[in-house]
Amino acid sequence: MFTEIQHGLSAWGSFDTWIVITAALAAMACALPGVFLVLRQQSMMGDALSHTVLPGIVLAFLMSYGLRNAEWISPSTQLATLPLFLFGGAVVLGVVSAMLTEFVQRLGHVESSAALGVVFTSLFAFGLLLIRLKADSVHIDPDCVLYGNVETVKLGVAGVPRATAMVGSLLVVNLTLVLLFYKELTISAFDPSLATTLGIRARIMHYALMATTAATLVAAFESVGSILVITMLVAPAATASLLTDRLPIRLVVTLAIAFITALVGHAMALTLPALVFSRLGFPEIKDASTAGMMAVVAGMLFILAMFFAPRHGMISKGLGQTRLAFRLACHDQLRALYQAERKTSLGATVEATAWTKTQGFILHYLATWSLILSQQIARTAKGHKLTSRGKRAIEQIITNVSDDTST
């Protein structure tokens, strides 16, 4: 198995390094605004925007050719500026869709996810119709304009692929913006009314964030494809939110997770399919979609964090709950013995307390054993009795409880 992995990775060349760098930069660039989107509970924005940019691209395309046919710009300028037009159209529609969603939600008191759903399906349908009506004979392949592929990075000027330079500059811009507006972003994400009273325009921050996100997403769509972008917008930020409570640390952790996801994703795309499918009898399968595998890895990292996160993980939470239940079971048993002892007032021994439905018998016997081991109760012929140590413990608990209830 290890030889197979080695074999898969042995083909790693500078091309693969560029893929990982591009994907990692794109993932980090998306994850940064993603942290704030997750805080504001607008994570589905990525998926919605990947649809709503379609009419923007079609309109920009038509406008570009319209200007050319109206002889306002020359054909060569038109061809040169076409990518810029498409990018601009996509960004504009991204911002428009964010604003429309907000508008529908505010005006109609529609629930936010429903508003998003209405807006993005409508805009996408509008884009499709526009293609059918106007650009039927024109080759606008949204897949091609919109969705790049991280596996097809081409070397550009000075040995750096164009897509890499693009997402790299995106990351730099986003980092600068987040550092510059860190306080404003944080306050308006956590408490918009407080932000307003402090003189920060929460509304403006919201639209600025939406515009940045839309621009980032569109640029990243074009460089690395939609699936990677949609996932990377949310998954690293959500994973980081399970790992830490402090926002600055969360930002750093998010970036780290985005990087790890890209690296591991590409490595797994090269090795895992061959590993699985050679056993199933298909030795032809060597590798699989890198972007898809990165999304899967992002999901797997999230599942790992979901189980093993130090404070918010399911295992640590479950352990904490079990510990609490165990302590309560011990207390219950001590209390039952104490009450029985006081009721009889004669003998120090009483029957072993029966396990109750709320505790379950496993907890009950565990508690009994631990109490015997810590010498708080002692086994007798008929059952258990409190030792002096146990009596002190239960009296202390009872006083504490009565103190708590009296205060």
Partner: protein, 512 residues
């Protein structure tokens, strides 16, 4: 190939002057989108046949080809489409409207559970299931991978898995619903893409067109799919009918339902199972976009019209059916309109109309109610302010009546925090209601009716003030300072007690 055609667009600059301004950019855009007719003439006929719009219109005379973009179809065509005489039209109409019905009903519950985007997630999450089902069937027996029921079962299972994982993420961690949906969507869709790239490299060769095979298109819907849609729709209607009360309880108060002993998890699973069924069959027959839209838009539109769950379900079903019908018919009549997109856009138009004109939560209605309330409060405040002014003026000579004193704008302006403009508008409204009579140059005077109203407003207002002072510990929530309903809310004894206190404080109120 098609760029070439684009280059040949005839220049239309002659029709408007060449001025380079931002305005013209906009005009140009509109111009291109809506009125460039020449392009139509160059459209090759095969583009109509390929894909979305299904053609039922008969061949146009050659002369009108140049300007037949969205030309009105002949009466005979309209009749044929409306009476569903064409097999193709009939299939598409039945299929989409039935799907609209089922999606409208299930979407209602989805919306109320605040899970509208679940349809989107299930749609994407079904991708790996399709791939895995294909792989399993291929491994068992080569060339059998495209057995449709197997693929649909795979899609359903992984759709359910995606749905369950969002529920687990949301309920077991601190992650909110939206992030849970987005992560599930991304991870499942990513897995699907990975598997599909692998399938493409398989040497069997039977995988060609698998993507299109499972992700359908409204225009290419077939009889067998319509039959499947019918069954799903009947199941959805029967389930919603039988479990209506339970689903309602689940939507509005899940905790209450579980405390009453209902099997909440099971009910939730049944409801979500219905959603997955609608999604998967819709995905196969009409495509992802339309299913997602049909699950969200009709339900969201219906919410504006009613506050009752049964009415809302009915209304959503009707809106779903109507938008599907209109979309399918117009796509049959105008061959250039894609059915799926037109259905969604019809739904959007109905949503916008509901948003504006809805009789329960519509924007116009809310705007009107708020305006009326504001007006009423403004009039009340105006009368109070006038009463206070007149009252002070009357103190030296108590034999005069309320209606004898003239008040001016300047008297009233400092009484409340209103601007002169607002005050003037309120004065105008009060005049229209015949509470005030205007005396040009001197100001306004209360009419007899206005005097009564002002006195009554002041009395009620002051009674409430006294109530707050004396009985605030009883029920401060009762207090409605501007309401005329003090007699209906408070006991007669309390009112008479308050009144005697009032007359002690303001003796002049007892006199008038």
């Amino acid at each position: 190939m098609s760029f070439q055609r684009q280059l040949d667009w005839p220049s239309k600059t002659g029709s408007f002057a060449v001025r380079r301004s931002a305005m013209q950019t906009a005009i140009c855009l509109l111009f291109i989108v809506w009125s460039n007719q020449e392009i139509t003439a160059q459209i090759s006929p095969h583009s109509e046949a390929s894909g979305q719009g299904h053609q039922t219109t008969s061949q146009k005379p050659a002369g009108s080809l140049a300007d037949n973009r969205l030309a009105w179809p002949a009466a005979a065509d309209v009749k044929r489409v409306l009476l569903m005489q064409d097999y193709n039209t009939r299939i598409v109409l039945w299929g989409t409207t039935t799907l609209g019905l089922a999606a409208g009903i299930t979407g209602t519950f989805l919306l109320l559970r605040k899970r509208s985007l679940l349809g989107d997630v299930v749609g994407h999450a079904s991708l790996p299931g399709v791939a895995i089902a294909f792989l399993i069937m291929e491994l068992r027996e080569p060339q059998s991978g495209k057995w449709l029921p197997g693929l649909l079962i795979g899609a359903s299972i992984s759709g359910i898995a995606g749905m369950v994982s969002t529920v687990i993420i949301r309920s077991c961690t601190r992650i909110k619903e939206d992030a849970a949906l987005a992560i599930t969507l991304g991870a499942f869709y990513g897995l699907g893409i990975v598997l599909f790239t692998i399938i493409q490299k398989l040497p069997t060769g039977s995988q060609a067109g698998l993507g299109n095979f499972i992700y359908g298109n409204t225009a290419t819907i077939t009889q067998s799919e319509v039959d499947l849609i019918w069954r799903v729709a009947i199941v959805a209607i029967v389930a919603a009918g039988l479990l209506f009360k339970e689903f309602g309880l689940l939507c509005f108060d899940e905790q209450f339902a579980s405390s009453q002993g209902w099997p909440v998890v099971l009910l939730d699973l049944i409801l979500m199972g219905l959603v997955v069924a609608v999604c998967v069959i819709g995905l196969r027959s009409v495509g992802l976009l339309l299913v997602v839209a049909l699950l969200i838009i009709p339900a969201a539109s219906a919410r504006f019209w009613t506050e009752k769950l049964s009415h809302m379900t009915f209304c959503a079903a009707v809106i779903g059916v109507v938008s599907c019908y209109v979309g399918a018919v117009s796509s049959a009549l105008f061959s250039r309109l894609a059915a799926g997109a037109v259905i969604v856009l019809t739904g959007s138009v109905m949503f916008c109309a509901s948003l504006c004109f809805g009789t329960r939560r519509g924007v116009l209605l809310r705007w009107y109610t708020r305006r009326r309330l504001n007006q009423r409060i403004a009039t009340q405040q105006l009368l109070l302010a006038i009463f206070e002014t007149v009252e002070t003026a009357l103190l030296p000579n108590p034999q005069q009546a309320l209606t004898d004193v003239t008040v001016t704008l300047e008297d009233l302006l400092p009484k409340r925090s209103w601007t002169a403009k607002q005050l003037r508008r309120s004065l105008h409204e009060a005049q229209k209601a015949q509470y005030l009579a205007s005396h040009p140059g001197r100001g306004h005077r209360l009419t007899a009716q206005g005097g009564r109203a002002a006195h009554r407003a002041a009395r009620n207002h002051r009674l409430w003030e006294l109530y707050l002072l004396q009985h605030a510990d009883v029920a401060p929530g009762h207090v409605d300072r501007d309401a005329d309903r003090i007699e209906q809310i408070l006991d007669p004894e309390i009112i008479s007690g308050l009144e005697s206190a009032l007359f002690k404080k303001y003796p002049q109120m007892a006199a008038s």
